[in-house]
Amino acid sequence: MNLEKETARYLGYRGSEPEDRVKELIAECLSAVKQSSDFRIVCDRFDVWTSVNSVHIGELVFESKTLSYHLKDCHQAVVLCATLGVEIDRLLHKLGISDIAKCAVLQAASSAYLEYKLDEYCNGVAQQERARGNLTHTRYSPGYGDLALECQREVLDILSAGKKIGVGTTDAFALTPTKTVTAIVGIYKEKREDKI
């Protein structure tokens, strides 16, 4: 992933190049993000059973048709929670008051960076699984399809994400700090057609 391009994409530049001053700002914000973020991740592997309307992941049950479809051929899943930590939020609060243009760019840069770190991590998981003869699906998060945001709390609890990496949710199930993602990565057995 090209972090500069991805940040620009988040800022609405689709295909077109940002102007030099914006490019400079993007570079500055990306370096601030790298410096201020404290990337932490917790994850665990669980067995998976799916039915049409629900999914069992370890001891958790999710009522979701879309997740069930996404995981239909999976026997296991990695459930994860990753965060860039509180310092990025502090920086965003500060810039929200003192420099709104930089705030918007930092917002985009930190989102891009979190996705980048997650991709990196998930590639590692995929590689490990491949060694075991398994393949992995793309990340699936609460809020996608019909998987309710309300299940954020259970996901955090089962991973002890509060205690281990300092993540919580608000009453409306927004993850805190804001640059935090939870996701489910389905693991399925490699079939012959996958190899082809």
Partner: protein, 789 residues
């Protein structure tokens, strides 16, 4: 023997993990361990028994999650759970031949406090209060707060314990290998805050194993006079072949490594992964190691939620700009509740190099009792600097002392009896560092001796109620030299005061009052005061001359190791890097290209020859309109739009200041109240809309994020708002938006509503009764113009 007595006299051992033992007995991850205190107390009792048999002195009750927030929705009650947890622990303890202490154990709420999360300080306090009363009533020997990773939440918990029990309090936090909590606070700062709050021991638990904990434990030992507690995990977590987590060191290794920490810690024990076997091995190994020597920590430390400032190694800078005295714009901001103005002052001072921020919001027509804590709360959301609470109102001070995260400075007490009686007990209870002015009922003595006399009296009064010398800074007061007095009294006084074993602080700029080119005198005086050993200078960090002097004097006096800070400050100048000069482009062009400095200087120039309102109407607004149109057509992008907005704001601020200073009526269009709805903590979209509305001269009252429908309506009524603008970013907060609109319609039917946010559609906006939907900030401006002009 009470726990506090035992703590001083002998080495004590905590038990090990409860969770590890319960999981080994088949407790599911989704089950609440605390429920077992009622459902199967025999299981818990059995675990306590095993630890007691292993030889521990203190057992932790099975009530880690027994706070009302964690138990919300589980059907369990924190009071009942805690009672049961203590009762079962006491039962096990009573069977032991030796004295076993029962520690009522509480962990964090699992929610993050404002401003990162949505939990208020008061609700965090309330979450523990009930369970703590149960601990007291049921006869716990001590309170243990453990595994905390946020000083603010820990402060709420400790205050709740102080105000609802009379039990000794022990706190252990979870730090990483760098000695920082997840919220960024260094352990030294945590120890300073907790010792100030009056806990009886501090330390570490969880997160890391004994090997990693050793250097961090030493850092805590070196930063406090309190006994240190260490409860490490059984090493670091690892995953076995089946994907199950385990901890990677054996009981023997655990005992060896933990024993190595015994020279810094009075209490040793275990956390995740440890079992009675680990604790027994540890006790066998460490039992006869003598206690660490009692030691007195003498440094002055002030802290915020994420940083600590140690005084006494040169001079620290306390920014003085958050103070309405002599500042018409600041006064206006205070009266209009314009909190952004105040926050910007704080941010600017931090960026100019302040180490601490003074906060003074005292004005005759301002309710300081609510304003001071409010400003403190908001300020600590945007700056990492410790704060100095500057007030003469004891109620305002106490409220701010509760609200402030960390250990603040308190500015100030003086030698007057009334001042000492009302302020010192507050400093003692909340653990601040007291600034003490060398004046009393008779005024400011002329001589060094006279001022030192008062200082001695204040120190004696403070020590009487248990405030240590390290928590006192004496302000000898700077009198202006323009009336004939000499700075020597103050400078000699600094040297004398330091002999008393307390620190010194000064408001530097008073020295030049009444003289021309004050910065000359201020800078020279600052250098002399640094040389004399001044610990803290209250000054304006945006004064270049004074900051230049500061860095030079610090380097000259040897406080700036290898002149690093000096070189950093002046290397740009040395490389001849010229500052960006404002381009002379005209205000419209400056706004369109987003150049703040150019826009500001163009505005200043125009104000000489053009009416302020004409500049706004004929230059600013058309330039903004043009930018907005380009943005809507996709020819300009968000960062550029916002740079233009910043430039327009810079020009607008200049115009507003000009009007105010020349006695004109402030530029104000209709009022708009803006907020992110209850439950939603994403506020960048709302902030962008606010900046653009500001640009167009609307009087925008920003209520922030996570704002309840009641607050929105109440404030809209108070402010006589014509529009309420609401933002929601998540599907789960749309109902709150609907409720807010309903309440607005009901209570203030003439008030219009505008909504926006990622998950909204025009159809949904109409369905919930909003008067307008804006897909972005430029559209929000257009909607407001259409609705109210």
């Amino acid at each position: 023997m009470t726990f506090e007595k035992a703590l001083k006299e002998k080495r004590l051992f905590f038990d090990g993990a409860m969770g590890t033992m319960l999981q080994a007995r088949g407790l599911a991850l989704t089950e609440l361990p605390e429920a077992l205190n009622i459902k199967s107390p025999e299981v818990i009792e059995d675990i306590h028994d095993l630890y007691i048999k292993a030889g521990c002195d203190i057992i932790k009750t099975n009530s880690f999650g027994a706070n009302s927030i964690k138990l919300h929705g589980t059907g369990l009650d924190s009071y009942e759970i805690t009672r049961a947890a203590i009762s079962v622990a006491k039962k096990a303890a009573s069977r032991s031949d030796k004295k076993v202490y029962v520690a009522a154990d509480f962990g964090p709420t699992g929610k993050l406090l404002m401003p990162i999360g949505d939990l208020s300080f008061e609700l965090a306090y309330d979450a523990y209060a009930q369970a703590l009363r149960a601990a007291q009533e049921e006869g716990a020997d001590l309170i243990l707060f453990e595994t905390f990773s946020d000083t603010y939440e820990l402060k709420a918990a400790v205050l709740a314990a102080k105000e609802n029990t009379n039990l000794p309090i022990v706190c252990t936090v979870m730090a990483d290998e760098n000695g920082k909590l997840l919220t960024g606070a260094p352990v030294e700062g945590v120890a300073a805050m907790l010792e100030g709050l009056g806990v009886c021991a501090v330390g570490l638990n969880c997160g890391i194993g004994p090997t990693e904990m050793q250097p961090i434990a030493k850092r805590i030992f070196d930063a406090t006079s309190l006994p240190v507690v260490v409860n490490p995990n059984a090493g670091l977590p690892a995953t076995d072949r089946n994907g199950r987590t385990y901890y990677d060191i054996t009981a023997r290794q655990f005992a060896l490594s933990t024993t190595e920490i015994a020279e810094y810690a009075n209490i040793l024990g275990g956390c995740c992964g440890t079992t009675p076997e680990y604790i027994k091995a540890l006790i066998d190994k460490a039992e006869n190691i003598p206690l660490p020597p009692e030691h007195e920590f003498t440094k002055t430390v002030v802290t915020s939620g994420s940083s600590a400032v140690v005084l006494g190694e040169g001079t620290v800078i306390i920014g003085e700009r958050i103070n309405p005295t002599g500042k018409p714009l600041f006064k206006q901001a205070l009266r209009e509740n314009n909190i952004e103005y105040i926050l910007k002052e704080g941010i600017a001072q931090q960026e100019s190099g302040a180490h601490i921020l003074d906060v003074n919001v005292g004005l005759p027509d301002i309710d300081e009792k609510s304003m001071l804590p409010f400003v403190v709360e908001r300020l600590q959301g945007v700056t990492s600097l410790p704060l100095q609470l500057d007030t003469s109102d004891a109620v305002a001070l106490e409220r701010a002392l509760r609200t402030v995260n960390g250990k603040p400075l308190i500015n100030s007490v003086n030698g007057k009896k009334e001042s000492l009686q009302s302020f010192l007990p507050l400093a003692k209870k909340y653990g601040g560092v007291v600034v003490a002015l060398a004046l009393d009922e008779k005024g400011i003595p002329d001589t060094v001796e006279g001022r030192v006399e008062i200082a001695k009296r204040i120190i004696a009064e403070a020590e009487k109620i248990g405030i240590k010398k390290r928590d006192i800074l004496i302000d000898l007061l700077t009198l202006t030299i323009s009336t004939g007095s000499s700075a020597k009294v103050t400078l000699d006084g600094i040297r004398e005061i330091k002999k008393l074993g307390v620190g010194t602080i000064l408001g530097v700029s008073n020295i030049s009052f009444g003289l021309p080119l004050r910065e000359n005198i201020n800078s020279a005086f600052l250098s002399m005061a640094i040389e004399a050993g001044l610990d803290a200078a209250i000054m304006n960090p945006s004064s270049k001359a004074m900051m230049d002097s500061y860095h030079s004097a610090m380097a000259l006096c040897g406080y700036d190791k290898n002149c690093q800070n000096y070189i950093e400050r002046f290397s740009d100048t040395a490389n001849e890097k010229k500052p960006v000069k404002p381009q002379n482009t005209g205000i419209e062009q400056a706004i369109k290209t987003g150049l703040c400095e150019s826009a500001r200087s163009a505005a200043t120039e125009l104000l000489q020859k053009e009416e302020p309102m004409s500049i706004v109407q004929h230059r600013l607004v058309p330039a903004l309109d043009e930018v907005g149109a380009l943005f809507e057509k996709g020819k300009m992008f968000l960062p550029q739009l916002l740079m233009s907005a910043e430039a327009a704001q810079a020009a607008f601020d200049q115009i507003k200041a000009h009007i105010l200073l020349n006695g004109g009526e402030p530029v104000k269009k209709s009022k708009i109240v803006i907020a992110t709805v209850k439950g939603d903590i994403h506020d960048i979209g709302k902030n962008i809309v606010k900046v653009l509305l500001d640009n167009y001269g609307y009087n925008v009252v920003d209520l922030g994020k996570d704002v309840s429908p009641e607050t929105v309506v109440q404030r809209a009524i108070e402010e006589k708002a014509e529009i309420v603008a609401l933002s929601a970013l998540m599907t789960t907060t749309l109902p709150a938006m609907e409720q807010t609109i309903k309440l607005v319609k009901e209570k203030i039917p003439h008030c219009k509503t505008i909504v926006g946010g990622a998950v909204l559609t025009p159809e949904y906006a109409e369905k919930i009764g909003a008067d307008a939907y804006a897909k972005d900030a430029t559209e929000a401006v257009r909607c407001c113009r259409e609705l109210i002009g």
